[in-house]
Amino acid sequence: MTDQNEKVVALLGQPNSGKSTLFNALTGMRQHVGNWPGKTVEKKEGHFSHNGTEYLAVDLPGTYSLSANSDEEMITRDYIASGKADVVCILADSSQLERSLYMLADYAGITVPCFLVLNMSDVAAAQGKTVNAKKLEKKLGIPVISFSAPDTKSYDSFYTVLERTVREKPVLGADELESRYEELETYGRIKEMIPDGVIPGYSKMWLATKAVEKDVPVTAKIRAALPEADKMAFDAAVSRTDKGVVLTGERKFAWIDGLLSDTAASKKTKVALGRFDRLITHRFWGKPVVILIILLGLIASFIPALPLMGVGQLIAKIPDPLNEAMLNIGCPAFLAAIVCDVLLRSLSFIVQMLGFVFGVTLVFGLLEEIGVMARISYVFDNTMAKLGLQGKSVMPFLISFGCTMGGAAGTRVIDNWGQKVLTIALAWAVPCGAAWAVIPMLSTVFFGAWVPVIIAVILLVMLLHMWLTAKVFGRSLVKREDQCGMIMELPPYHKPKWGALFRYVFGRTKDTFVRALKVVVIVAFAFWLLSYTSSGDITDSILYKAGHAVEPFTRIFGMGWQTFMAFIASSLGKEGALGVLSTIYTGTGTISVGSMVGGAVAENINELLTANVSKPEALALIFAMTFNMPCIVALAATYQETHSAKWTARIALYYTGIALVLAGIAYHVGMLIW
């Protein structure tokens, strides 16, 4: 953006048109993901260069049209009108050409130079569909190419056509379509009234069509530009048309039919669901099959994850000997502690989980790309709609049983930002692998045979928690219009573009690593400061003093200062809670970041716990830990995925509060029992 010579190419296409794949293939690791200013819609930009020219690719939000029904559509329209894009690349799906050219028809009348990419030509060819791009090019007046993402030769023609469009600035020919609009009673009248330059880049034809469609922002803009005397007549003309969208829609498709009548050919095939689609849409087997697919995906995610987990564990072995070595050579103790205890432990913790993020992004990115994710969305749409979510949200929830960070990474396939944030917020309530390692163990120590009951209650509370959280955050995150019933296509399956996928996965993993490391190091350092004592006596630390000071308050929630420390530790990492309790009750050593993220636990921890903690307090701790913030890495991943510090903080505070409330309830229920 700083480079004046940089050409801006905006990618425009309906969902499933292969827009993201093209974007990833073009820009690879040179991507930047953020939000559109003031909007809850993700903004993706990336750089690439070809033949010495630098390009900025802008991945416009995937929308079905250029109407004004959603933030995504408004952003897309406004961006094109802003004049920031030198050229617009419009994508259509060759295997569903008629339907997917609707975006092109809706674009007609916009004078920003553009070219048309007929994507997925491989899928179309396999279905016996052909299209004559050259002939279509003549009819439209803009460059048209057949394109197939997995085919490397396709990219050569893509670059050629891109350069040609930048050079020649062709504008989509719309006369033919306009003559169809002229059949509409009010079209001509409205168009006559429109003054020049209402919205730069948008012709009178486009504006008139939108006015016929009763598009609110466009109508308001035209009205504002009109002289007072004409306003009444304009309003009258606009209000005369009923269901303008249907009328113009019919004409758009008639225009498309005309375009394709002698340029596209297809073998008439009987439509039927494939074997896999029959299984997945089955009223009984659909859901089990989807859950099985996600679980298999989860297992597959571990395969690329394992080596990095090994590396992380190796890093974890460094701090102790290094600490000693640093002290031996006379290095100040606090410096050694910062390097070993804060930096290296944080690094180890993140690297171990990063492998999982990589695996999840790869496996579920692949499922998205080949078209399986759309089926998952279909199968779970009814269920997830009750929470205001898309069917796809089921996937991050299931992944979160393994690792919340992986669950957060899995929300990348959700194309609506608000629903994505809400999915992450709900996924936090799902007890992760670390909770499942700690909670049954703690429960066994205190409650023996009652463990199954406790686990059942935890699962029940989880469902209630998710329902409540959806109610609490849903209203501000998911707009009512996004909750409308499902209208979605089940795209044909297609081959993945491995190179682009891997570059994308590496890029996102790298971003996660950098951001997570920052967050974790800061939090670990703060915690280290709080727990630091020069004397080595835990009672000298700020943490102890603060814990002691708030004990009257934490008692309400059933926790003494020791268990409250464990609760605080569990928000960094669940395994850490045991390490902290162990340190406190054995009275040896200090609580350190090391003990927080999986430090040594005394051998007689069971006796120590039962001797020091009452049953109600243990129950309070179990609930507090389970429903606390999952861990700092999950917090960092949430920030990375939502790009919103505000929402990350809001979710974290909410979870801490709810965990305490649940602990309080558990404690008082426990008091009644024991």
Binding site: Y64, D106, V246, I487, L490
Partner: protein
């Protein structure tokens, strides 16, 4: 005229009208379901979204929404 949701599996029809609020009408138009368009019902089971095939596209539609789409000539 029938509602789209009243067509049985494998029945074919031609869309006669699309009703509902502007947002829905716009959305269903942009996915290609416009008056005059031929649709085939692929799956129609109780309490599940309808699966229809139209303009080379497999489309999943919520049941309530299907009530807003009217079709003609569908042999039930």
């Amino acid at each position: 005229m029938k509602k789209l949701s009243e067509l049985e599996k494998d029945a074919e029809g031609v869309i006669a009208a699309v009703n509902g609020d502007p947002r829905f009408v716009s959305r269903i138009t942009s996915i290609g379901l416009t008056p005059g368009c031929r649709v085939t019902v692929i799956k129609n089971e109780k309490n599940r979204p309808l699966l229809v095939y139209s303009r080379d596209t497999m489309i999943a539609l919520n049941r309530q929404e299907c009530d807003l789409v009217e079709v003609e000539g569908g042999k039930a």
